[in-house]
Symmetry: C2
Subunit: 240 residues, 2 copies
């Protein structure tokens, strides 16, 4: 019942062969988890998928759950890196928020198998919070709050919201939609909801905008009306 503190492979060398087999297990497990679900997956099936005996499995991972965490860490880290590579090329908090929403949706849609495991099983696992994988997931989630803060600095987002709450809205929205997509098959594509979701999020988060349907380039009561808000770019990042 009690979990091992440290993995029993700690005394072994992380040789190339070893690491390859480790990947074998993870990929095999991912496949079986996605098909059967975590609970229905047996050690036997997992071991077969990796072409090893059940006993060998325990040389690589200390439990079924640990594989699950490894999968999560692998996928999330990869996607987070990808997003961090793109982010600098995307200008302004508004567009960064669009990037995040799009990235999450496309990632989920393109990795249905992993997503099923992540949203249906991982979220309910109590030990997950203590895993390294969770730290990576947290880091990814933090980007939402960070971008919101950026937007407040830039003056495009309202400043009276808890960034934490914004994060909950964006990710909750996306994850709930994705869960429905997984379980009920509705909507057919989540990525295609991108623009609507972005629109809804923006309305909740943006400063109450001038919603004039025509372009203005005039002065009213002596105040200049900006049509192109891409100038306020001087504030440093708030990294907290």
């Amino acid at each position: 019942m009690e979990k091992k503190k440290s993995n029993n492979r700690s005394f072994k060398k992380a040789t190339k062969r070893y690491r390859e087999k480790e990947v074998n297990i993870i990929e095999g497990a991912l496949k079986v988890f996605g098909e059967k679900g975590f609970e229905e997956t047996t050690l036997s099936a997992m071991s077969q998928a990796a072409n090893i005996s059940e006993a060998t499995f325990y040389e690589y991972f200390s439990s079924k759950e640990e594989v699950l965490f490894s999968i999560s860490k692998l996928y999330t880290q990869r996607e987070l890196d990808r997003m961090m590579t793109i982010a600098p090329y995307v200008h302004g908090a508004r567009e960064r928020m669009r990037l995040i929403i799009q990235a999450y949706l496309e990632f989920y849609e393109n990795n249905r198998l992993y997503t099923a495991v992540a949203l249906l099983t991982l979220k309910g696992s109590r030990n997950f919070l203590k895993s390294e994988a969770y730290q990576v997931v947290r880091e990814a989630a933090r980007t939402v709050a960070d971008v919101y803060k950026e937007g407040v600095h830039e003056g495009v987002f309202r400043d009276d919201l808890d960034p934490y709450l914004v994060r909950n809205m964006v990710l909750g929205f996306i994850e709930h939609l994705t869960t429905q997509w997984l379980l009920v098959g509705r909507p057919e594509s989540i990525a295609r909801q991108r623009d609507t979701i972005f629109d809804m999020v923006m309305r909740a988060v943006e400063k109450k905008p001038d919603t004039n349907p025509v372009e203005l380039n005039i002065q009213v009561r002596g105040l200049p009306v900006r049509t192109d808000p891409s100038e306020s770019n001087d504030n440093p990042n708030n990294s907290g």
Copy 2:
């Protein structure tokens, strides 16, 4: 592995004593589930919590999972009924939406144990979709989409959103926040976030109000500038 179709207690009388013990089991199970999680909960622990033997358990429920579903059905139905009682006294889609948000938040906060079971375990159960309990949960969730449609009719909500998407936003927001509250203990109280959540949802869903910082009533480039956009009410919903 395969589930029984019908419960094996069907031939028994539903005596008072019997129903009392049934409640004992459910309440005991809820406690253990809430503490340990579904997976870590053993039949033995559950039976002890109800002061019966493991064998007796199966005279009342056909599986561990069935108790889980029973718990959900019981709680959700009770809360749904409560909400349906209040709803008629609340006027207008806007206020009804506030009611729903408040009801969900307060229910979750006041039923921490059940909420832990529902959000952490039930959501990940594949069989849940086939259970009666799920139908009740769906019914409760539908109220959000219904209220949105009401709001469109009343002309207070924008008419270009899929009600289904609105539902996903509202419930996703709330559930994600609640999950964080359960697992990380942040925020301290979810019910107290009520007004902010309502405000964010409203901004996403309401018809765009005139938020011009200055009143405009002029023509630019020959096009009339509308200050009051509450006329375009004729296009049908896009339900995709």
